[in-house]
Symmetry: C2
């Protein structure tokens, strides 16, 4: 039997994907540029970030329509970051979720521009959203730019590149993940809650929740690289082992990494209770992401 | 004797550069990422776009303070586009304004991320500006995202790459320049006028002005590549000749290109008169840009 959580995830995934494709389809832009943007947007993925944004909003408010531009913008920014991260000058990945990466299907120049285009268009989308008032648009753009820019995700990607081939301490590892993955998750949680009308006290606890959720994500990523099923993950496992990259299992052992993750799950849930969000899907989503197999 | 126009240009150039450096300096971000962003921002340039924005605003309003975040964001977006355009996968340029390009001084990964960072930070800057109200912030972000994204500058860069090694008609050449260069100039003119309080009738004529100004820019760029002084321009001339790139002098001859430019200058000034902006610096700036030697 399917759970309510699974229905929530599936329904919103379909909604988000439909909305993204519709927006891209309606753009009057050069054909091949559109194809490149659409290719990466439609290449799949779990749509974790927009689903979290909607779940966080729903903890305080029900009219999901008001979350759509921010949810889509967030997923587009996540997608742009993957396109740029996969470039030869960056992580040089030919495959992503089992499919050829953007610069392999198109070319490097097109991939760079498709990323730039998705990033820029995200802000336009929010600025155009008639379901939000002007204060809300400014606040969402501000939060999203902070989360994804040089103080957020871009800094994380930069530090991750700098750390390559260097052994680093767990504190630095956490800092990188907090920036690279955590900042967009935090935007999902805080942006969604803000739009839903959470108080600043509730938002404070949600920042704590988002912090631990980001770490849970990363620990589980690292664990899957050691113990996961390559077919489910869509890429070979063991890729972290061969290089000098610092991971939780390498620093703490596999058992230690799992214990660490459980500790983070407990702390995340404590924060959710303080934010009065414990009856929302955020509670179940925490377990869901902690136990995901891909 | 120095003209009033020269004073206007110099004073605003200093103001813009000081403001940009101050903002970057205050960012708490990884050191080398900041250095890379700052390197390209401080690598010089005429600051044409923010100066036009301020001049356009001044045609209707005097308090320049209200233009600063948009002026700086615009120059940062222009700078990001140069960093990405210079990458090996794009135009593969080692020099820009006589100095090594960003990826030569740093590395490709850092250059990609510095560009992404400047683009994202531009929107944050406007969203943070306490001199603007929320309506103004949303409108400026919307205009800037449209001008620089997949419907604007990014489309122009994409089409320019596609057209490489193909002979194209003058209509297609104009389309590329209108997108690649014209859209940001148009933002400067329309964004500045909007903030300054221009009526929608006046803005309509300014869109016409901006269209011709963009073409004037490009024709003069092409002419300088044939007739200019490499020392003043900061790069070798004749670079367009060796490749198949379509230019105005190639399509119309040098004399024909100059005539075309003069025709555009006349049309640009007619539009300025209709926009009641003929007593502003925009009039003199049109001649200034038409006759620039670098």
């Amino acid at each position: 039997m399917r759970s309510k959580l699974n229905d929530f995830i599936d329904q919103n995934k379909i909604l988000i994907e439909k909305e993204m494709s519709k927006h891209l389809d309606n753009l009057s832009i050069p054909e091949r540029l559109k194809k490149s943007m659409t290719y990466s947007i439609e290449a799949g993925g779990k749509r974790i970030r927009p689903i979290l944004l909607i779940a966080s909003y729903n903890a305080y408010n029900k009219n999901t329509q008001r979350t759509l531009s921010a949810a889509i913008a967030l997923e587009m920014i996540h997608t742009y970051s993957l396109i740029h991260d996969d470039l030869p000058a960056m992580d040089d990945d030919d495959l992503r979720r089992g499919k050829p990466t953007n610069h392999i299907v198109f070319d490097e120049a097109t991939a760079i521009l498709a990323g730039d285009a998705l990033l820029t268009y995200s802000f336009e989308l929010i600025s155009n959203d008639s379901a939000l008032n002007e204060n809300e648009k400014v606040k969402m753009i501000q939060l999203l730019a902070q989360a994804s820019g040089p103080k957020g995700m871009v800094a994380g990607q930069f530090l991750d590149m700098e750390a390559e081939n260097n052994e680093i301490a767990i504190e630095q590892l956490e800092r990188i993940h907090t920036l690279k993955t955590g900042e967009l998750l935090r935007f999902a949680i805080i942006g969604g809650a803000y739009l839903g009308g959470a108080t600043s006290e509730q938002q404070k606890h949600l920042r704590e929740f988002a912090f631990y959720l980001g770490l849970i994500f990363q620990v589980q990523d690292d664990i899957l690289d050691v113990m996961g099923d390559p077919e489910l993950i869509g890429k070979p496992t063991g890729s972290d082992e061969g290089n000098m990259k610092s991971t939780y299992p390498k620093l703490l052992g596999t058992k230690g990494a799992i214990d660490k993750k459980d500790e983070y799950v407990t702390k995340a849930k404590e924060a959710l209770i303080l934010a009065n969000a414990n009856e929302s899907y955020l509670m179940e989503l925490t377990d869901y992401f902690s136990q995901r197999d891909h």
